[in-house]
Every structure is written in C-alpha cells, then in structure tokens.
Symmetry: C2
Subunit: 304 residues, 2 copies
C-alpha cells in the first residue's frame, strides 16, 4: 500500500488508497486574482494568511502556495508566502512554481517535508526539479506532459508518468514520493476526458503504485453549473482511486463530495467524520465549515 507522507513542523498528512482523500487548497494563487497579486508583490500577506486559515477551516488537509506574479521577484515572494502560511496553519504545503529558483527558495523557507508542484516529463524540467526534490527530501507532483505537449492519448500520458517515476529513481526518489497528475481535459472539448481520467487513475494505481492528484475543476471548463459537473467528477475519480485533488475547499459541494467519498471508499471509519460534520451543521451540513479535520484548525505554532 503506497503512502506518501508530507509534513509541516508539527503535523503529518498521508496520501494513500486506504486514507481519507486529501483536498489541497488551491486559493493561494495570484493567477486571475489581481488584488492578491498586487498585495503579494507589495509585501502584504494578510490575504494570503486569511485564505490559508479559511481553507484549512473548511477542510483542506494541505495548501498549495503559488506566487506566479509577472515581473515580480517570484523566489522571494514564494519563500515569504511559505513562511507566512506556516505561521498561521500547521498543514503541509505544496510549493507551486514553474520557476526552479522559486521552488528552491520555497523549499529553503519551508519547515517540514513539502510537496513540490511540479515536475513534468520535459528533459529540462526533469534535470532541474528532481535534484531539488531529492536534496530537500520532498515529495513531488508529476504532471504527465512532455516536450510534445499534453497528449490526448491516455496511454501516452501513462508512459510519461512511468518515465518520470524511472528518472526520479535515478535520483533516489521513491515512487511513493511521486504524486501523479493524469491531467484533466475539459469534457466540453474532449468527450472521453472523464473516462480517460478514470482509466488512467486505475492504471497509475495498479501498475505504478503511485498516489494521484489533479486540478479537478478543469473538467467543467466552458459548461454551465460547473459545480455540478465538478462534484460528480470528483466522486467518480475518488471511486476510481484518485487520492487527492488541488481544488477549492470553500465550495460546499466539493467538501461534501469528498467526505461522502471517504464514507463510500471505507476510509471514514464508522462514518465518523460524516456524522460529526452533519451533527455540527445541524443536520444540513452543506453551509457550515466544520467537521472533517477539526484538528487542522488554526493553532498558534509555538515556534512561529
């Protein structure tokens, strides 16, 4: 049974087929958020901290931290964002950048074992990111595209995942420290996108023994009522073996689906988290931020 262990200074989170599904909160990302972007560039992290606390209270077991701001000092900002977030929440982080120097700055600032987001099958990326992951003893998200782009053929995406796992092994990185993103295409453009992800998640689990993650909301791009598609997709993908997703825990449908998913995969022992959440929410349970990982709630870190 593959377990991917990540940690902050005080907490561990384990991805695994026999573990509750892990929501990695996606909100700390300046892409498309002009105000957040301007604030981060100006050294104001109050919204970053608030987004961190809100997502953890809503049920995120990890948080993604991205500082992709054009023309800004991304390494410096990402490192500071990592410190600011670790000062207010104790969940492990995913350090997210397309710039290797920013990943390194984030890793240097981080206290614990983080997830690096991400490596791809591109030669230059393999050669620059994998040594960093190995040096810092991190886990890493492996995105299944390479120099030729994103293949619409899921078998090609599987082959890219296998290549990354092999190349990582050359750096001493275990398969259990690789979390593969099978790449979710918009179903409005690629009608097989749903079936492909289900099949890929199953193969990745059976043949490579790796945990998986994805940006789940991409599936509904261009459609009305995206929340309805996203929730059904997440349930299907959890059923097929997906073990985490980078998504928005503040959407009630997402959290409800994840909690129901844990019940249905048998990873919520005695349905305890489900029952607790709905008791806390007075029998309705979709509006209230409560329950799942109560111990995630904001704690003053003694050393923070």
């Amino acid at each position: 049974m593959t377990h991917t262990v990540m940690s902050s200074a005080t907490r561990e989170i384990v991805l695994g087929f026999d573990r509750p599904f892990v929501v990695i909160g996606e909100r700390i990302n300046p892409t498309g958020r002009a105000l957040l972007s301007a604030e981060m560039a100006a050294g104001d992290y109050h919204r970053v901290r608030a987004d961190a606390v809100a997502q953890v209270e809503a049920g995120a077991a990890m948080l993604d931290v991205n500082a992709g701001i054009p023309m800004a000092d991304e390494p410096g900002i990402l490192a500071e964002a990592v410190r600011q977030v670790q000062a207010v929440v104790d969940v492990p982080l995913s350090i997210d950048s397309s710039i290797v120097a920013a990943l390194e700055a984030g890793l240097e600032a981080y206290d614990g074992k983080p997830l690096v987001n991400s490596v791809t099958g591109e030669e230059e990326r393999l050669e620059s990111v994998l040594p960093l992951v190995a040096r810092y003893g991190a886990a890493v998200v492996a995105i299944t595209n390479d120099e030729s782009g994103i293949s619409q053929d899921p078998d090609v995406r599987f082959d890219v995942a296998r290549t990354i796992v092999r190349r990582a092994a050359d750096h001493g990185i275990l398969a259990s420290d690789i979390v593969v993103d099978p790449l979710v295409m918009p179903i409005a453009a690629v009608s097989a996108a749903g079936r492909d992800v289900m099949a890929l998640v199953g193969r990745l689990r059976r043949e490579l023994g790796v945990n998986t993650t994805c940006g789940a909301s991409n599936i509904s791009f261009g459609l009305p009522n995206r929340g309805g598609i996203n929730a059904a997709f997440l349930a299907m993908a959890i059923g097929a073996g997906l073990t985490s997703a980078i998504t928005n825990p503040l959407e009630p449908d997402i959290l409800r689906t994840v909690l129901a998913g844990d019940v249905l995969t048998g990873n919520d022992a005695n349905c305890a988290a489900w029952i607790r959440r709905h008791r806390a929410a007075n029998g309705d349970g979709d509006g209230a931020a409560s329950g799942r990982r109560r111990s995630n709630r904001r704690r003053a870190r003694s050393g923070g």
Copy 2:
C-alpha cells in the same frame, strides 16, 4: 456492446454502456406510503397517475410499478396500475412484485416489452419467474441473492448473477435481457459496501457483459444527509459502469448527478442535455423539471 431494449407501445429505451444512464422512477410503490396504499386498494389511481407524470417530467426514462399491499388483490391491482400508468406516460415500465401471479397479471396487462422486477438465485424463483419472462419476451432484473440470503462476499453475489444468467439461457433468455442488481448494502453497517459495488459492477460488465441496476438509496440507510451520500455513490457507480438505478428522480441531486454522469462518461453528446437543462433552468438548473428527455413528456396515447 450489450444493449437491453425495453419498450412501451410507442417508445423504446436502451440500457447500455454507451447510452445515457437510465433512471427508473421508484415512487409508485405503496410500501411505507399509507395513503397511496389505501387508495390503490380502493381502486383510486389518481395519485399513481400523478406520480407517473411527475417522475417522467423530472427525467425518469422508465418507471417501476409496485402494488405490494398486504391482504389486497395484488395481481388485480398491479395489472390496473400498469394500465393506468401506460395511459398517461409512454416510458417503458418495470413490473415489480414478489408474487409471481402478480407479475403475470402485470405482464398480461402491459403493452410493449417491460422489465420484470425480479428474479433471484432462489430455485423456486428461477423456476417460476424465468418461464414468464421468456413467454412474454420481457427483460428481467436479477437480484444477486439466493436461498442462503444476501452474501456479504461480493464474489458470492457475482456467482449468483452468473448462475441466473446460465439458468435464463436454458429458457432462451439472452444475457442482454438480464439487468443485474449487485445489491447495495448500507455503508453504515458494511464499510466495504461502496467498494464492493464498484468492483461488482465492473466484473458484471467485463465478465458477464450484462447491464446493471440497483436501489441506490440503500447505501445511505441510517446516515444523516442521505442525499449527499446518495449523489456521490451514484456518480461513483456510474463511473464504475452502472447503467441504471431504481431511484427517485424528484430529488434534484439525483437527477443532477445522473446528467453530470452522462457528460463524464461521454454519453451526453456535446454535453447537449446538460447545457439544455441549465439553459432552461436559467443557469441554476437544480430546481427546474426540464431538459433531459423532453420527448418523455406526457403525451396522450392514441390508443389509451
């Protein structure tokens, strides 16, 4: 590709892995509905007719008709209920009884090719129901229990399904006319119930080539917010290959999940039904009865 074809006098519905998921409306059932029960026993079918129309308008592609009223003339009532329902809607019906004489009366009254609900692996049931199914050229729901009851071991339930398929073949009934119910246990009592159904649906599809159905809401028995569990379960099961369910189309979460499921399995070409429903519902789409099978809507049957 297995296709189970059922029909009314004027309409066909096809179950298949490459077809939209079929909701079989469960509401016409006096069990636990004292008023409906008393009315049906007294020969008053106005609520039966209203339930038929409402379920079809909500998106049911078929309707289950049950007349299980203690101490009443079940064959006579079931036959009349079938006639009454066929007079107001044109979807195919599932004729549902544990009494063989009632199944026969319902079959005799029915116009088209119905689904018989159900045969089990019990010897007496195999020997009484299968000849009826063969004689009337119907399709049949095969429930995976036998004399020893319902096994908690999904492999045993699979074996019962295989036995039923073989015994049906002796009567000239094709596997494509058998719709297997893998039996959904309450997850609060059997923590593997969700995983077992996913695995069973996959095996039934791969190894026996049969379509499947289930009473989906049993999964959430005893839990709070049953709708949340039911919706996630249905999405997972559709992802695993379930092709129909006997459920309540009047619950908005159910219909939304089924429509999203069709999008995600690639069985809603160009996402047309999803987009139409959400356009009709003014961008929200969960309250309005519209869209999916607009052509299902009430039609005066010329011969009715």
